[in-house]
């Protein structure tokens, strides 16, 4: 059972890390720009937050399947495939939450930085620093989205014992088999994990705030 938990964590942590690398710059761009293109992209990101994981799973599985365009990579039913699906699910979440946080940084603060000689990149870094609470929220939201997701990882991972079986797919399997005990136990671990991760992130947030106010 702990192997399943470890797989869940490894896959989700890698996926969230990649999603943050891609989603945070995208979110910064969306949160800082004021243009028609930006508005359209923001709508897309927010829609992406509601992207049905099953659809992501289906499309990813089709793309990675032996008969799909990326079949030669031999990735379906492997951990990298799960990471790919989870990244697709998490990027819009991370980007949208980051964008909201970035948009909450007053324009005048950025103008102030600019007036001291900041380039656009410096300005983005400043926004990132000012909005880092939102960044914590973005990471938490992305992690929550992928660790508790079942549809996509089932479809592209295949729930293979010892390699792609994660908590959620194992719960589904145990439930199907009528083995409610292990299913409930895993559910408890999953819940506890989400609570722990969010508590840790909230703690980071609070200590950062304390530093700023003191």
């Amino acid at each position: 059972m702990w192997a399943v938990v470890a797989t869940s964590l490894r896959v989700s942590v890698v996926a969230v890390a990649i999603a943050v690398l891609a989603g945070v710059p995208a979110g910064l761009y969306l949160g800082m720009r004021r243009s028609v293109v930006r508005n359209a992209l923001l709508v897309l990101a927010n829609a992406g937050m509601g992207l049905p994981p099953v659809v992501v799973g289906l499309v990813t599985a089709m793309a990675l399947s032996r008969r799909g365009p990326l079949g030669s990579l031999d990735l379906l039913y492997t951990r990298p495939a799960m990471v790919i699906a989870q990244v697709i699910i998490a990027v819009p979440v991370v980007a949208a939450v980051t964008a909201a946080a970035a948009a909450s940084v007053p324009f005048e603060l950025r103008l102030q930085a600019r007036s001291l000689g900041a380039s656009q990149l410096h300005e983005a870094m400043l926004v990132l620093k000012e909005a880092r609470m939102g960044l914590v929220a973005a990471v938490a939201a992305g992690f929550g989205a992928v660790i508790s997701e079942v549809g996509a990882v089932m479809m592209v991972g295949g729930n293979l014992e010892g390699s792609t079986r994660v908590m959620t797919t194992a719960i589904v399997q145990y439930t199907r088999m009528g083995r409610y005990g292990p299913a409930l136990a895993l559910s408890a671990v999953l819940l506890a994990l989400i609570v722990v991760v969010n508590t840790v992130l909230a703690q980071v947030q609070r200590s950062a705030e304390r530093f700023e106010r003191s």
Partner: protein
């Protein structure tokens, strides 16, 4: 005296509405130009353009003899600004003041020195480690100024830096800031809507209205003889009366105006056409029949009150002395004592040294400079 920053023919529109049309504005080294005007006059837009934060639709900006644009990062490095709200970044006071230095690649040890020096200049020596978000409004504004000063800019732009502060702090900072700005050959643009604030800090004043500069010049001239009826009204003056210098005796000129003579200490020659400016607070009113003892107050004009305006703690009295229109500022007690009301007759007394003469523009442009 060559300008540090000079902008000419600056135009800017937002959504086809013209918000700025400025012929020329120039900032001189170690001088503070106060940009004065009501809200919406385009002051902040002009400041943003001069600060290379925004591009004008048309116009030329020359910094130290070189034409520059907002894309010119090395030019932007020569400019620093502080705004109405201090907009401090999260972190310590020291990190805030060091921000511009870090952008300029100043090494850490020198950065520390210059941060300490800038903080000392604004009276906050040793405040480096404090959190920037726990400061009072005045303290925060000092940090914001230190942050701008630390980069040793050629041009310092201040956009309503005192407007959010309570009056006591505001006047203390106004005096202090005015004091420490005349250094390093730095030119300062100080945007404000408050003429009293401008009077404290400015060497020169430009009055803006609807995107245009309607009056500009040395502060003491603009405040007395703005040369523009609207600007005069905005500054609480009546339109300056016109007259001709009749004679000059011992440096005191007698100016013949329509229906009244006005004495002024000024460097003019007989026959010159001038305009006359007197600050309302320099005018003292007496009963029309009063026997005022002789003094240095050479001007004694019989006037009738044409209007009485309540302006907070004082009253503004508008007077007609023949063709000369004057404003006087008096206390509530004086209004009662003199039974001031429209139509009342009074004696307006002011010193010859309180009168400012400006040569008529039509004869010689900007003659009194």
């Amino acid at each position: 005296m060559s300008a540090v920053l000079e902008a000419t023919q600056i135009r800017k529109s937002y959504r086809r509405r013209e918000v700025l049309d400025v012929e020329r504005v120039a900032l001189a080294p170690e001088r503070t130009l106060a940009l004065l005007g009501p809200s919406g006059a385009g002051k902040s837009t002009l400041l943003a353009i001069l600060g290379l934060l925004e591009r004008p639709d048309a116009g030329r900006i020359v910094l130290d003899g070189r034409e520059v644009t907002a894309a010119d990062r090395s030019a932007r490095m020569q400019v620093a600004a502080a705004f109405q709200r201090p907009w401090l970044f999260k972190g310590t006071v020291g990190a805030n003041v060091a921000y511009g230095l870090a952008l300029r690649g100043v090494p850490a040890s020198e950065r520390r020195e210059r941060v300490a020096e800038a903080l000392a200049r604004v009276g906050l020596a040793g405040w480096e480690e404090r959190s920037a978000l726990t400061l009072s409004g005045g303290e925060a504004q000092r940090v914001a100024l230190a942050r701008a000063l630390a980069v040793r800019p050629r041009v310092l732009l201040l956009d309503e830096p005192l407007a959010s502060l309570d009056p006591v702090v505001k006047w203390r900072l106004a005096r202090e800031f005015a004091e420490l700005l005349h250094e390093d050959g730095m030119a300062v643009l100080w945007v404000t809507h408050d003429q009293d604030e401008a009077a404290v800090v400015a060497d020169e004043v430009a009055v803006m209205r609807d995107g245009r500069i309607v009056a500009s010049g040395p502060a003491d001239e603009v405040f007395l003889v703005p040369g523009d009826p609207w600007a005069a009204g905005f500054l609480g003056l009546e339109e300056p009366a016109a007259g001709v210098v009749a004679e000059v005796t011992d440096g005191v000129a007698r100016v013949a105006c329509e229906g009244a003579d006005v004495f002024a200490v000024a460097d003019v020659r007989p026959g010159e056409r001038v305009r006359i400016g007197v600050r309302p607070e320099d005018v003292v009113l007496f009963e029309a029949t009063a026997d005022v003892p002789a003094s240095s107050a050479r001007n004694r004009l019989r006037c009738s009150v044409t209007a009485l305006e309540h302006t907070g703690t004082t009253f503004r009295v508008v007077l007609a002395c023949g063709g000369v229109r004057l404003a006087a500022r008096v206390s509530k007690a004086a209004v009662r004592e003199l039974s001031l009301a429209p139509g009342a007759q009074v004696l307006a007394v002011f010193k010859a040294t309180a009168v400012r003469l400006a040569r008529e523009r039509s004869e010689s442009e900007g003659a009194s400079r």
